[in-house]
């Protein structure tokens, strides 16, 4: 059951202590691994940093405004421009094989289960 765990304070996250938004995530677990979706609006691919250190998965991202300098802000509802969230991966997940894609502000991370943790079908020979 222990596939991924939210961590509060780890070596990976104490390095950057600036205030950051905690992005909401959806996590689906199937027989071969887990898929994590995170809402990260405003983040271009080059500003997304996904790190795996040991069993720690750290997500850090920075929004890019890309607006001409002359524009004056009149109204802003979210003052923070950084996202950060950390997870602890269970041993049954294969952290070496994490893959990720970013599309219209939604990050998708796929972490397969290690082969020994995947269900295996055993062919039964009839003697």
């Amino acid at each position: 059951m222990n596939a991924v765990t939210q961590t509060r304070d780890t070596a990976a996250t104490t390095a950057a202590r600036e205030p950051a938004l905690l992005p909401p995530v959806d996590v689906v677990e199937d027989a071969t691994g887990i898929t994590l979706y995170a809402d990260l609006p405003g983040v271009p691919r080059e500003n997304l940093h996904l790190r795996v250190e040991g069993d720690q998965l750290t997500l850090e991202a920075e929004m890019a405004l890309a607006l001409p300098q002359a524009l004056q802000p009149q109204h802003a509802e979210v003052q923070l421009s950084r996202y950060r969230r950390g997870f602890t991966l269970s041993k049954e997940l294969d952290a070496e094989k994490v893959s990720a894609e970013l599309s219209q502000g939604v990050l998708r991370v796929r972490i397969p289960k290690a082969e020994h943790a995947q269900p295996r079908k055993i062919a039964v020979q009839v003697a």
Partner: protein, 168 residues
Amino acid sequence: MKIDEIRQGFGTLWDSVTEGWDRLRQSAAGALTRLRPGDDTALPAREHVDDTLWMPSAGWAMMGGEVFEDDDRLVVRLEAPGLEKEDFDVQVQGETLVVRGSKRFERESTEGRWRVMQCAYGAFQRTVPLPVPVRGEEARASYRNGVLRVELPKLAPGKPRTVSVQVG
């Protein structure tokens, strides 16, 4: 704090993510936009979701908005991750910008169990008051990286107006 201690302190996996959810829910008290799922939102069936705090009937999202201004135009940005540009309906009604949209739950995998459900899905509407009159028919909108950007030329170009009000 060591990771092992955190693990012990947290107990089972989804409890610990739920802890994060609680924090999110606290922030959701200040969330800005309500999303109302409909039939076309295609949410997963209740029996496939293990997140006990998930409320399929409604979701709240930050969807932060910003209004920028220079001499000639207003630029409105609205965070709206995970839509297609066809999902937006953007209208200028007098001195108000109305943005409607629908965020569908579209996932390639329907097998498996949803352990955590924090993202919001469904139809939403944001009404943004505009500080000056604009030429609505010349407005242009684009959608990139999950952010909607609407550019509205001012009816009367000029510097942003500031009026000081004496507090008596």
